[in-house]
Amino acid sequence: MAEITLDQIIQPENLVYTKSRIMTDTVLHYCPGCGHGTAHRLLAEVIEELDLQADTIGVAPVGCSVLMYNYMDVDMQEAAHGRAPALATAIKRLMPEKFVFTYQGDGDLAAIGTAETIHACNRGENITILFINNGIYGMTGGQMAPTTLPDMKASTCPYGRDVRMMGNPLKITDIVATLPGSYYVTRQSVHTPGNVRKAKKAIRKAVEYQKRNQGTCFVEIVSNCNSGWKMTPADANQWLEENMLPFYPLGDLKVPEE
């Protein structure tokens, strides 16, 4: 049997996966195993598939994904901590024909930016919000987040979140779903290949629906933080499944009436 060379393998007919051209060649700074990279990729693929690059304006948050604009080959703005929905509100109102998204973590969206989140969704701003919930502050080094589970450990609750002292985790997606201005609200995850495929379908809907001008599309992605959680990537995904998902169950919270 003749030996197969690398050049013979790298042929168009053998192509099973390629990086979206909406992703730049910049190496991601995220920790190995982190869900951010996957979430970025899904959004990039949807923008590419729907041919939206020239119409897209994205807003990056403060948090681990603060440098998102280095990875996405679309026009982007960097917001102050929590204010992405305010930026996106103005962008969309001034340029209603564009596709406008924010990408925010739990601290950004559900703590410091709660007012902006609630009011943008309640006004029914025609924007798409991607919300990455990993129950912890990743960038600043593992502090308690608004979404940290009861008894879950973080650097500012080293003995676990005592809800009597530190308050309860906030299910902001559930709140968003009750607002008359939200149009499509769903909770997804990217910790298994099956969930990645589902999440991509949800993101695609959340992007496509923006054209309908019916209100805010909101996708929560329950994700991991193996560094902050102090676990291996595999353990973190298992912990996510066993602890995060019972508290933050996956599925649609609000779907358009067809």
């Binding site: 020239a54 897209t56 080959d73 982007m76 102050a80 204010r83 930026l87 103005a90 109102r93 902006e116």
Partner: protein, 355 residues
């Protein structure tokens, strides 16, 4: 001659915004400037020019809406009064750091804290020394009439886009609330130009545009700061504005801006009726401050009295400007009290002439 109207200062700002071709206004109600948004909403600018007007959930949201709109290269603005402007400081710092053009209007009321709703000039430091974090500057225009409230909206947008820098109109409750005759400028259509740096969607003919104030690399961050400082230097060279009233034969000088400068004009008349040769130097740009022009007066006048509705803020810049060559003192009132012309003349006599 443009259309003549009798308007409140706040209304003049709103009408001028529509006429200047503003694309968006984002604000939150606060006394004494709420008429700005009330006027805009009543005028239906969306029908007149397509301008977007939105009442935000807070000043924090409003200033960040301004950021979002400005980053698209749009002509956007907000207005507020002192406590609201304090809340906006983070956003203003980001806007300066991202080099975005926009117009901010502060109809100042007395502080600190909730203070009072009556007029004051106690936000001078906040406006001209940088109220937020970092080394940045706001071009600060100080209107002294309802006419200037209107004119400076247009001028403010021009300067903001010329230098890609936020511009603040530092007014006060008296000018916001009072009505005077205004000659309105002719409307300018909203710009359709797509600015090369703005986030309007990455087209194949260009690289993606990123609007950010973040750079974690120290060298690049320092270079960026140096570039900002160079821009500020250019603005200091080219954009100083001021007015001199009865200064030609003056032996003494008042320096005052905004509402205080109006009171001082009356004080000048009063003093001259008593034989005191005094003039008024009115800074129109508070930053860049007319330091050279005030220094130039030191060869002519024997002393300067700064008259302010504050505990004495601008007086520090006057002292820096005159470099100790002549006596500089301050007289002011706080808490929403406006000094009277009689008090001002009395203080000139006591602190400068007799002092």
């Amino acid at each position: 001659m443009g259309e003549l109207r009798l308007m409140k200062g706040n209304e003049a700002v709103a009408e001028a915004a529509i006429r200047a071709g503003a694309d968006g206004y984002f604000g939150y109600p606060i006394t004494p400037q709420s008429e700005v948004m009330e006027y805009l909403m009543a005028e239906k600018p969306h029908e007149r020019t397509g301008m977007v007007v939105l009442q935000a959930e807070s000043e924090l949201a409003a200033i960040n809406m301004v950021y979002g709109g400005a980053a698209c290269g749009k002509k956007v603005m907000t207005s507020s009064s002192s406590p609201g402007i304090s809340l906006m400081q983070e956003g203003i710092s980001y806007i300066a750091g991202a080099e975005l053009p926009c117009l901010l209007v502060n109809v100042v009321r007395g502080g600190p804290g909730l203070g009072t709703i009556q007029p004051a000039q106690s936000d001078y430091f906040q406006a001209v020394k940088g109220g937020g974090h970092g080394d940045y500057r706001l071009i600060t225009l100080a209107p002294a009439s309802v006419q200037e409230m209107s004119d400076f909206v247009k001028l403010g947008f021009e300067l903001a886009f010329k230098y890609r820098n936020p511009v603040m109109i530092l007014s006060d409750g008296a000018i916001g609330q009072m009505m005077e005759k205004v000659e309105l400028f002719d409307p300018v259509p909203r710009s359709k130009e797509i600015l090369p740096w703005a986030t309007t969607g990455k087209t194949p003919d260009r690289e993606r545009n990123i609007i950010t104030s973040l750079d974690l690399d120290p060298k690049r961050q320092e270079d960026f700061n140096l570039k900002l400082q160079k821009k500020y230097g250019e603005i200091e060279e080219k954009e100083v504005r001021y007015e001199k009233i009865q200064c030609d034969d003056a032996e003494y000088l008042f320096v005052a801006y905004g509402t205080s400068s109006r009171v001082v004009q009356k004080a000048v008349q009063l003093a001259r009726s008593r034989g005191i040769k005094v003039g008024l130097f009115r800074p129109i740009t508070l930053w860049p401050f007319p330091s050279k022009e005030i220094f130039a007066m030191t060869g002519q006048v024997k002393g300067i009295l700064s008259v302010e509705m504050s505990a004495g803020q601008m007086v520090e810049d006057i002292r820096l400007a005159v470099k100790g060559k002549i006596k500089v003192d301050y007289y002011g009132r706080m808490g929403g009290i406006i000094p009277t012309p009689d008090e001002v003349v009395e203080m000139l006599e006591k602190k400068i002439i007799g002092g």
